[in-house]
Symmetry: C2
Subunit: 338 residues, 2 copies
Amino acid sequence: MLNERRLEVLRAIVQDYVGTEEPVGSKALTERHQLGVSPATVRNDMAALEDEGFIAQPHTSAGRIPTDKGYRLFVDKLAGVKPLSTPERRAIQNFMDGAVDLDDVVGRTVRLLAQLTRQVAVVQYPSLTRSTVRHVELLSLAPARVMLVLITDTGRVEQRMVDCPSPVGETALADLRARLNSRVVGRRFADVPQLVQDLPESFETEDRGTVSTVLATLLETLVEETEERLMIGGTANLTRFGHDFPLVIRPVLEALEEQVVLLKLLGEAKDSGMTVRIGHENAHEGLTSTSVVAVGYGSGDEAVAKLGVVGPTRMDYPGTMGAVRAVARYVGQILAES
Amino acid sequence: MLNERRLEVLRAIVQDYVGTEEPVGSKALTERHQLGVSPATVRNDMAALEDEGFIAQPHTSAGRIPTDKGYRLFVDKLAGVKPLSTPERRAIQNFMDGAVDLDDVVGRTVRLLAQLTRQVAVVQYPSLTRSTVRHVELLSLAPARVMLVLITDTGRVEQRMVDCPSPVGETALADLRARLNSRVVGRRFADVPQLVQDLPESFETEDRGTVSTVLATLLETLVEETEERLMIGGTANLTRFGHDFPLVIRPVLEALEEQVVLLKLLGEAKDSGMTVRIGHENAHEGLTSTSVVAVGYGSGDEAVAKLGVVGPTRMDYPGTMGAVRAVARYVGQILAES
DNA sequence: TCTTGGCACTCCATGGTCACGAGTGCCAGC
DNA sequence: GCTGGCACTCGTGACCATGGAGTGCCAAGA
């Protein structure tokens, strides 16, 4: 059913619709693309494409627009990933260089991505559980109060207050700090629970309470939902959504404010390679008229977190995918260097 | 010119317009408020109010809507701050309790404020320069690489990498850490530069380079723009802006993404007491059709940062001001406790 | 079997007219 | 100084006619 030309027609429809935001008709198609056939033939092809569910008409006697299924086919079969131009690559470098800490890196990334794609950008902070421990610090702030600071190889810093059952001496604290670090430094956070399991036992009875409390807080921090932070930007680009936008923009903004929703969204993306979720493929109700392009990034081979963009299903997929991939690679490099 | 009744008419117009979002006419006014006079009289009063610039008509033969100047008078003279209801107070407590760290406190605050006011909430992180130092930590991560961690009494933690000119021994680092802390702990960050000024001189020549580098980074961190972080939320409430909203919402979203703009906005607010900036009173171009209600908050008497909301000029000022004030007080309490 | 030109049909968008109603300003009378 | 009355303005919504873009279908040609 779907011969070469029909696919070509679909590609042309997607490209034109993305460009003009208007339903595209058979005549316009033959004029703007060298299909080598007449409008009538294109009409037949369009009817076939519509039968298969790849395109639809908003109403009779209007042009066609791609359906989610149509975009899916376009992304899977018809379009590649468009590499960035040299000026664009240079812009990425200029923009990212000079970041002072992880917050800054993430902040710049989100702004950069929003600017390049002209869509809403979402960047997840490097996950704790997938990072490795660079250092664990314990600070005595008051006799029975300790501050726990975790530092990852990706530069992320997490801190928690610990209220101890009894006053803690500096020596005991230094002892715990040393033993703790010798066990976990360089290891992955995911492995920490196991590594510190028997630590309390090796302490004097009087200190065991404190040690357990500190460790409990440490483990809590690792599993806590807040470990999965993220940053979003470019929401102003939502206004480029389309005409019907008051209806569409609301649920999108709401979804974007729910960290849980976004984390789930990114979580659904594959760990490696790029993931594109189109329209109704997104589980969340408010996002059924948006597409999400996400990819993992990391300092090494393994992804420590994900980043991506959220935009209208009518988006420039090749360009967006190219930008997302390029940014992810560059951020990975920066993390590896630091 | 502006006798008691005319002020009463203005108040009624503001209240009705805020409620209905529609220009309000003389007849509707007399029906919904006990003004004790006829529509014709109200019309005369309205004409006077219009002459003075407090109200305007979108077009001839339409009702009146308040101007920025009208809202200003309303806020200054005609409306108080509406205290929160008991359930609302309880909701604040429930919502804020259980915050684990400063990020969490700020995050909860912004969500709470957005929910209470149904507007966009902006919360500034406690400023470094106005906080006092709880602890300065130096961690040796590599021979010539030190991580500097600042901890404030408000729970804020800031960290920076320092690349030292030469390898640093643990003893030298411990020495610097001890001397640094003995000088600055409990002091205000603003005073730190002066307090550490002569510190390098008291070290051996060989360590002076390192000491200077570390101190330079410390001072840099204090003045850096990034010290002024903030969090925003409730942007979905922008969709309740009005009918003409595609035009209005765009610049607002853009302004909200520019931290600089927002910081300036909050910075313009008075240090003590509540500040209300209405429409064109806001310097930033994109925000001329919004009002900003801001207030300082802090753990003690002094404000360490500000928070507020951004909404349409047509907002419920008494209610919004009440919510903002209540939230600020509660956050202050939480910071004081921690 | 596929392609093509022709043709009738559908339906949206545009723009004009018209009646309605809400609201105003003004004035004369109380 | 307040009030009722009255003429006037203007935006809104309904209705209708027109034009044009686009379609589906069909018969003829390659």
